[in-house]
Point group: C2
Chain length 374, copies 2
């Protein structure tokens, strides 16, 4: 048995969120299992839903010190009915990570990993140790560090999921918002490799510059007065009729649909009273802006807006196709699928309010890596 700290998130029936570190016993591996010492695990936007839930970060308070540190915050009463299934349960957090296999079960598959650096997926990564099936580990190529392999799953497969979804739903090019993010930069590299038209929507001139610097051809900056015209022109040039939006709130999704409709109508030869018959789709996969999505419907009836999430996409494509995508990622972890972090923190530092206030903002360009054994 191995003992180590594990980060836990608890929302109580009375609406109090408590994030703490719990001294946890990790059993020795069964025949097909390995015990991994977690050395790198990122804080992704997709982790924050479980870590902080809908708690109001402005109400966060810290208590204790060292491994007894604790953060509490208030969850608005209106959000509680949606949380029924997790209330009063202490939940481990952290979707993906990487580390060293320190114990291995008797099976060949498990023994083959002993002492090796592996990437992992499956939750509970914000911990000093993680027990999991050998088949749920991905062996990293020699010379790849845990830090390089930590973000191997969520961002890379989400980016690949976007281009795959585009193809499967019959579109030929795509739009991506918050495009200067780690994910957005990956998506640019993928689209360049695969010859796919990509329209990048950013919010600041320096983000536009960054993307042009890595070879992005179509970059539209929301902060410029020509944004609408620029976007329409890029849509005409690429023929993009699907968008993946990380922002969510406000009118951006609607504006993209509007510009798509105008771009399509520029080449229309016959009037349709219901707008163009070309289906225009926006998938919202993030919530940088949690305010309501506002749809100003001036784009006919052939449109859809919906949530998009990696897990159901992976279930839909099946195991063989998943394996093909995973292998593509691992082959290019230092190039196409490289992640960049602004800060590496320990587990107690995750609960430091000065860090929490930064990563809770989900700001493009701010990305935290946790080293639970720092």
């Amino acid at each position: 048995m191995t003992t180590g700290l594990q980060l836990r998130s608890l929302i109580r029936k009375d609406g109090e969120l408590e994030v703490s570190l719990v001294e946890t016993d990790f059993a020795d591996p069964g025949p097909d299992q390995v015990l991994v010492k977690v050395e790198a695990t990122p804080i992704n936007p997709s982790d924050l839903g479980l870590l902080l839930g809908p708690a109001d970060v402005a109400t966060a308070k810290a208590g204790g010190s060292g491994k007894d540190v604790k953060v509490t915050a208030k969850v608005p009463a209106g959000a509680l009915p949606f949380l029924a299934a997790r209330l009063d349960q202490s939940m481990p957090v952290g979707n993906e990570g990487a580390g060293t296999v320190i114990k291995a079960g008797a099976s060949d598959a498990a023994q083959a990993l002993l002492g090796k650096t592996v990437s992992m997926i499956g939750g509970g990564m914000y911990a000093q140790y993680r027990l999991l099936k050998a088949t749920d580990c991905q062996l990293l190529p020699a010379g790849t560090t845990a830090a390089e392999g930590a973000s191997w799953f969520v961002n890379p497969l989400t980016a690949l999921g976007m281009t795959e979804t585009m193809k499967r739903e019959g579109h030929k090019a795509l739009v991506h918002t918050a495009a200067a993010s780690n994910l957005g930069q990956m998506l640019n590299k993928i689209c360049q490799e695969d010859g796919i038209g990509l329209v990048n929507v950013v919010r600041k001139p320096e983000q536009a510059k960054l993307l042009r610097g890595i070879g992005a051809k179509h970059v539209c900056d929301l902060s410029t007065p020509s944004f609408g015209n620029d976007l329409t022109q890029a849509l005409v040039e690429t023929g993009a009729t699907i968008a993946f939006d990380a922002i969510g709130g406000g009118t951006l999704a609607s504006n993209i649909l509007t510009c798509m409709e105008i771009a399509i109508n520029k080449s229309a030869t016959q009037y349709s009273r219901y707008g163009s018959t070309v289906h225009k789709q926006v998938y919202i996969y993030g919530s940088l802006d949690t305010s309501p999505v506002q749809l100003i419907r001036n784009y006919g009836t052939a449109w859809g807006v919906g949530g998009w999430l990696l897990t159901p996409f992976l279930q839909k494509i099946g195991r063989a196709e998943q394996q093909r995508l995973r292998q593509r990622v691992v082959n290019s972890l230092k190039t196409t699928f490289a992640s960049h972090y602004t800060r590496t923190v320990s587990l107690p530092e995750v609960l430091d309010l000065k860090h929490l206030s930064v990563y809770a903002k989900r700001a493009t360009g701010e990305k935290f890596l946790i080293n639970p054994n720092k």
Copy 2:
């Protein structure tokens, strides 16, 4: 050759809408064609998009009299880019209608219809005559009048399209808004016949009463304080996870998704950080409220909102299945698929501002029938 009036809608490049009656020559039928004297054609919400476009009805002015009557109104400049393909073209209007075949081509199919009452689909019905293929006519059963057969296509097939879409997309019950409409009453009868769970959302107590009077089991009234609880309870009882919304603007679509999520979570046994994994769908098929759709995303990621339109649905299901649905309608025009009108008007009366101001409102319970040969 036969001469008669045809209603036309024209939007000029400068943004002026003009609706007028044009003396039109209708050629004698070719071998496979028939000429129908149009005796009944409804004003459906789906006709208003072509008839009035996005013109501001408050600016409407009438001129001329008798068959020289004319209505003009202003189209907001922002809407013109979406109308490029129809600008400066005089468009005939009217999706569906019924009347008597007064001339027929030489083919057996055409001759068989001579003197008969038929229903029609295909546009240009707001006219005294309509020339079309015999195969585009549907022979009405003996004893069925043109008025009874006029609304045989748009509403009946839209209602059937909803239950068919529900089945094809894997849902087991459905929600319908503006449920006291002609269409909504039809949908109740269809669901009762087919044993499908239907949740009716209405905006007034008298509409709730009307629906309960025709046997509706689940009726939720937006004007009552218990609406949210009533809707959630009806969703629990029916298991409805798809909605068809005629209203469009505001927060109703979002509220339906929220109540679906709460209903699903009432029976959830495991917490999912991304909300329930059950896909929740709202299709917006009307625009009684043209203000923006506001989506307050507290229902996870397994959701979609989109436009829904009859024509692409019919294209998707193919000709044989279409034929099956059409036949079902014609068999029950006096019962399940009966329409009710508040007023029958002539063609010049369509252009009367006191009528226009009523039908342009798309109010539930107000439905106009045109008799172009009145």
